[in-house]
Structure formats: C-alpha cells, structure tokens
Subunit: 290 residues, 2 copies
C-alpha cells in the first residue's frame, strides 16, 4: 500500500488505500461528523486503512493551499477548519488537502474518462455543482486554491436563492437538488421515476434540467475550451437517460458551434470512488500542494 | 528591430515594431479591409514597419493554432480566412496568429498590469467582450485555441439577442455597446456625458452596466480564481468613473467573499497598443503556436 485517500462529502466520508499499481486494496466508509470531530475521524480512518502512508483528503468548499477549509456551505457551514495542519501534527505523515471536485478531476484525468487530455473539465453534480480544471496539461487551482467553483457561475439575474447567499447560481438550476426546485418540491428520484414511466410533466422538468446543464457546460466551454468534459458526482447516473438531450442542447448552446471542434461529453468512469482515488493521488510528487 | 505585431480590430488595424528591449520603435494604422483583402493589407503593413522580422497577428474570433480565422462575428462575419498560412507563404517569415484578447493578455502579463502573476485574466471591453487567460504561469488557449470567449458566458436565460445568434450572453450587458441597449438607444458617449453632468437616469444606466461587469467578473473569478483581472479594450476608459462601484459590486458578488482573497481589479496599462504589442510577443520562442 502506497497512499491513502479520503473524500469528505456532505453526508459520508469514503476512504481508500491504493497499492503501488493504483489499485484500490481497502475501503472504509463513515458518516460525516460535525466540524470539530472531522480531523479526529480522518485520523482514525487513516489508521483503519493501514496508516503508515501519505494521506490525501478531498473536501467541498474553499480550501487553502495549506489545507485549511475556509468555507464550506455543503459541509454544515464549516469555517476555518485546519484539516491539513491538524492531521500533519497528529499523524506525523505527509498530508495533502484539496477541493473534492479537484480530486475527482485528478483521478478522472489520470486514469479515467479524461485520460490523456491536456485540457479537461470535471463537473460534479450532486447537492451542489463542483468543478475541477485541467489546462495546459496541469491541474489548475487558481491563485489561492479556489478555482473551479463553477456552480456559482451566475446564469439568471435575480434568480433562485443559493446556499451561498447570492441569486441565480448555476447549481440552483442544474445540480441534483435543483430537480426538487424545478419540479415544485418533488424529489429527484420521484421526478425521474415518473419521467421514465412516461409522465409528460415530469418529462418537461427533466428536459428543463437537461437544458440548464447544457447551457452551463456551454458557457464553461466558451471560457476554457476543454477537449473533454467529465460529468460525475452523486447525481450523474440520473443524467444517463437524458445524456443525448444534454449533448444536443450543449452543442447548440456553444459559441459559433459550426466553426469549432466540440469537447467530448463523458460520464465519470471511477464512479463514487473518483474523489477518494484522486485524494490519494494528491500524494504523488508534484501533484499535491504542500 | 526584432518583432512586428499587428492587432486587427473591427474598424482599424494597428501595427507596431518592437526593438530588442521591447520598446515600440514604429507604428502604423490602417482601416480594416474586407476579409479577402486582409492578408494583403497585413503583408503591406509588415513591409511598412520595416519587414525582415517575425510577425505576430491578433484577430477577434475563433483562431486555430495554425492561424486560420474560423469565425469572427466582430470582423464582418469573416469565416475560414487562412491568415497564418497565407502570410507565411507571402512573407517567407515566421508568422504567429492568435486571438486579439489573448495577445492583449500576453502583453499585460509580461510587461503590464498583470506582470509577475501566475494566474491572471484579461477582459477586453469594446463592441463585444474578449478574454485572455493565464493559469499556472502559462498563457492558456484551451484544447483547440478557442479559450477565452468569456463574452459568451450566458448570464440571463432568454435574455438579449447576441451577434452570435444565442441569447443572454454577458457581452450584451457589459460591453461598451451594451450601454446603448441599457439606455434605450443612446450612445455610450452620450450616456457617460450626461451621467458625469449629474443626470439621474443616466446614472442608473451606468450603475446597471457596472453591476453587469461586476457580476460577470465574479463568475469568472469563481471559475478561475485569478490573482489579478486586467480590464482593457476600447471602452475601458469609460469604466474609470465607476471603477469603485465595479470593485465594490464585484467583491459582494463573489462566492464566499468573506473567506477568500479577492483578485486585484486593474485597468490595462498598455492602452490601445496592448493587442499589437502582445501580437509581437507571440514571436518569442515558446509563446506563439506554430
């Protein structure tokens, strides 16, 4: 075993241990605790996975290069949690901390759907929308480690209120939880079940959702021009039945679609483990920040 | 003299010759001709600037790495103009062609307002809005050379119609020409003159415009997390009187503003010459694409 990675989600934490071929050789799951207990839980999970190896951790929200969670609306509003410094002190091991979608991007780029591309975008659809950016053959974190908050791209003036406190953020229209809003309060599972059973009003909701996903992906493509966009996250399986509709609307929403090469739209191949595997990959030389 | 750069705009072409210190030693201007004559004019301007040196050209629109203008709504709808290949054949000199905002970004990053930053964003406000992206210490063109079309980020569902054929693009609300739309048909100069003379309705238009600029810059910061954003382009002088309002609205529109370092918002220091100087810089080894 050469590396341990833990993906901290809003409700659960998934940890994996990788051997020197990159294969997952152990896995543990725990419910996500409240912020004060988070560092203790991560230390215990590291031990349960064998310990004695460098640790990478992925978390939602704004993470500084030193591994401090500055703000995380989807992690019960955690603020200024020194995950990296705390774990380094407790474990005496190398510890790398990064944004969860950045971790997923790393894994899909190294061994998944974006393998071999110089410019790729990872889009995680779940409670919110996260993003990871590869440009020029490198994982990009921006100047302060905060790049990739693509869910907070504004897509409608004075639009729906977001957990971040602003209005009209893309994730209020295109995330998994947006289905509840777009359907007037029904759960995403319910909307999809009745859509698949042939219900027309549910089909209209799903179609609007697909349109919002497509529109946002087109804006991001106009900005970043990736070779491939990888859709992942907890809700990505729901996209399956409307993937062709997303592809078609995406192509039409691009700037000057008839004069450009379009990015490939792919679904993540590492599934729910992408974030944890990517977190473990942060421990490779030259990938993770101190 | 070591390099020649020409910036092709919607109405005029500006050419400069740089000496080996990077200083501008000659300058020529010509009206922008129709597409079939463009390559001839560029060859003549190269000669008028002394010739006998590598040439860089910046153009608006989608430019392939080989230097073909695939589409350019702001260049009289030019399509598939082989500017790079044509000039290489005519001049027998090295020729580099890139997007005009990418050229401006290069110049401001190397010797202007973004000097020394690893992550920077150039935003050119004019008839439309162009963008140039520096991430991870490199100029980024995306996978097909089309990165930076930030003016076509969608900011309002079903919004104003854009020259690109879609609706709700940012440049319809925040470019120089957007002032005409926001004011119900008055020219930008007129709106600004009466705003500065104290007219309240003009002040409201200018304030709305400042808000749209700020909102778009905040979305781009959420995505790219630059250290500095440089505002340039033909309309940037108009931003001057409302720059503080843009700064203030930008700060509030950012994701989690109280927990992050904000990018600096600067105005371009190279003025109208940024594009031409950056075009000349494309000729430096390792900067321009073949």
């Amino acid at each position: 075993m050469t590396a341990i990675g833990i993906d901290v989600g809003g409700t659960k934490c998934l940890g994996v241990a990788l051997d020197d071929t990159g294969a997952v050789v152990a896995e543990v799951r725990e419910p996500t605790p409240s912020a004060p207990e988070l560092v203790w839980l991560l230390a215990r999970m590291w031990g349960d996975l064998g310990g004695n190896a460098p640790l990478g951790v992925g978390l939602p929200g704004l993470i500084t290069p030193a591994g401090v969670v500055r703000a995380s609306p989807n992690l019960r509003g955690a603020r200024d949690i020194a995950v990296g410094p705390g774990l380094r002190e407790m474990l005496g091991a190398a510890v790398y901390v990064d944004n969860d979608a950045t971790c997923a991007a790393l894994a899909e780029w190294r061994v998944g759907a974006a393998r071999g591309s110089r410019d790729a975008l990872m889009v995680t659809l779940g409670t919110g929308i996260g993003g990871g950016i590869v440009m020029g053959g490198r994982l990009q974190r921006g100047s302060h480690g905060f790049a990739g908050e693509i869910g907070h791209m504004m897509v409608e003036r004075g639009g729906l209120e977001c957990v971040c406190g602003r209005r009209g953020c893309w994730e209020r229209y295109a995330s998994g939880s947006a289905l509840r809003t777009l359907s007037g309060g029904r759960s995403g599972e319910e909307v999809f079940a009745s859509f698949l059973a042939g219900d027309e009003s549910s089909a209209a909701v799903v179609s609007e959702w697909a349109g919002w996903i497509a529109t946002g992906l087109a804006s991001l493509t106009n900005i970043c021009d990736p070779e491939v966009i990888v859709l992942g996250g907890g809700t990505v399986d729901s996209v399956g039945p409307v993937m062709e509709e997303v592809r078609e609307k995406f192509s039409r929403a691009l700037y000057s679609p008839e004069h450009r090469t379009h990015p490939r739209l792919e679904t993540a191949v590492l599934g729910a483990r992408a974030g944890a595997i990517g977190a473990a990959m942060l421990t490779e030389p030259g990938i993770g920040l101190p």
